[in-house]
């Protein structure tokens, strides 16, 4: 199974959680990135995400593999949305299963931090006042 997925469809976090059962896992850590209604003082109406799918899936897969190698975890999974998202929609979800909580927390944090830094996905904000713009990123 590919453990890094780009999806045009809504992320059903409850269904995702149900998919991941492992009798060796005493800990499950998860993260959801959710569309919020303001950024840098502007009222956000909605977001549009674009992805360079082929490279995003490759780089996302690399990040999952790094987490599996670096931390004592059983499995890790990340799904990222593309397309138009409304306030409150889940943009990205990470789920990590591990024997114990410490490495599950660490791996979950590692995955979301690296995804935001490395995976070629871009976010455009559409504002209440009719303006819009691609966010600049960290550079």
């Amino acid at each position: 199974m590919n453990n890094f997925i780009i999806s045009q469809d809504e992320i059903d976090f409850f269904a995702l959680n149900q998919q991941f059962k492992n009798p060796n896992a005493g800990a499950m850590s998860s993260f959801q990135g959710v569309v919020r209604k303001n950024n840098l003082g502007k009222e956000v109406l909605r977001l549009e995400y674009q992805s360079y799918d082929q490279l995003a899936q490759k780089e996302g897969g690399n990040i999952i593999n790094e987490a599996l190698e670096s931390f004592d975890i059983e499995s890790a999974y990340c799904m990222h949305r593309t397309g138009v998202l409304e306030i409150g929609d889940i943009a990205v979800a990470v789920i990590v299963l591990a024997g114990h909580r410490e490495d599950s927390f660490k791996a979950c944090r590692y995955i979301i931090d690296e995804v935001k830094l490395r995976v070629p996905i871009w976010k455009k904000e559409i504002y209440q006042n009719g303006d819009s713009g691609w966010l600049k990123g960290a550079g």
């Binding site: 995400y49 490279l55 976010k123 691609w134 600049k136």
Partner: protein
Amino acid sequence: MKLINIKVIYFAVLRDLTTKKEELLSVDPGTTPQSLYDILQEKYSFPDQNTFKVAINDNFTEWNEPLSQHDTVVFIPPVTGG
């Protein structure tokens, strides 16, 4: 000197500036992502690329890597996922 045929795919701000998802171009042999970007920057008023990355055929690569026939080039502005 025979030109080489390449494809450029645009994302994010570059897609907005070109109003194209992709285009086919014929370029001089020896063209690199850097020299290609310079040409496109002139044509489409692209921003400076010093914080950008570049990929050839879905692999990150260097700006001075010479392009080959039928390569696909993607310029990658700073990413903002999550």
